[in-house]
Amino acid sequence: MTMPATDVDVIDALLGIAPGSLLDAIRARRPEARTQAQATYRALFAPDVPGNVTTQERFAVGAFVAGLHGDAAIVAFYSNGLGASGASVKLREAVDAAVASATAHGPYGHYPAGPLSRENVTGPTFRVRPEPRSALGPRLAAAFEHVHMLVFHPRDATPDALKSLLDAGWSTTDVVTLSQIVAFLSFQIRVVVGLRTLAGNV
């Protein structure tokens, strides 16, 4: 299998943007944002310097984040990327199982004690269940627990959450890459859903 072509603009592809369409014209007015969003995708999913985070890990996280947002076209894109990265059926099923057990509604979370405490909203803290955990392995299981917090309740972040990643074998640099993947996808998914809604193509 081949990886998704990295010269195709992913946001354009996910929106089915045709040359000369309304969305093509709108995106052309912010050309650097268009180019650099794609450059970020390449840096995170097809990097020139792969580092310690494997392509399979990158797409497993991508498929999980997309699954938590629940947009079918985006889920299909990152699930296909995970398949193309050589992931086993067992791993792909574990990602799907993790998504199914991880749905929530964000943003929720807590503030430092004080006047904002009345705005605290409690919600689930995600822990990977035993069965998908064995297929994911310790590195991805720790990552998914962190990713769920980043997606749904980022204001609950703590140094201890990062410690769990270091303990599972993520280096400081790996954590930066992992965080960028989740944060960038939070952007990319919203651009796609937002522009699709704007174009009335829902």
């Binding site: 912010r30 990062l162 990319q188 919203r190």
Partner: protein
Amino acid sequence: MTDTILVPPRHTAPVRFTRAQLEWLPWLEPLAVDEMTERHRASLVDAARLRSPYFRLLARDPDALEARTRTDKDIFYNPDAGLPRAERELAAAATSRSNGCIYCASVHSRHAATYSKREADVQRLLDDGVGADLGERWNAIVAASVALTATPIAFGPEHVDRLRRAGLDELAISDVIHAAAFFNWANRLMLSLGEPAASAEA
């Protein structure tokens, strides 16, 4: 390599949203200035960011950082029509208020106040939250930003219609979408890799 969590020095954590200048203290080790390669330095885009622990931490994945920063600049600073700068900053501040990023909200509420000259309205957003009544045009921008920030995303045709009725054209609506989407990226990095601190005299 033994990577560890940093314990921030004694500081006062802000307990409310503020337009005051805050500091940001990392939980993971930023690159030291003297260990940064040319590639690391170039990824900062602005040389002044060499002083920022946040950007020196993100520089551990330089390709992702550089593309992130160039995306950010075009969304917020491109002067070609669309949404006025003040209202791009309003969308950033509203998104940060909704996710609960006190640091990001401080920076972008300052910018929104500076460019709009509507300090009292911006302060109401910080004090009362995203339900504050800021006049219909700003209410529409805040509501769209908040709906786009929800996971799963709650942004729908009704938000586009309300923005149109408030006088925004398609490029301006696209700018709201991009500004809110971008702060779903930025908030997650700021919230999860370190914490805000009040300046010593505040």
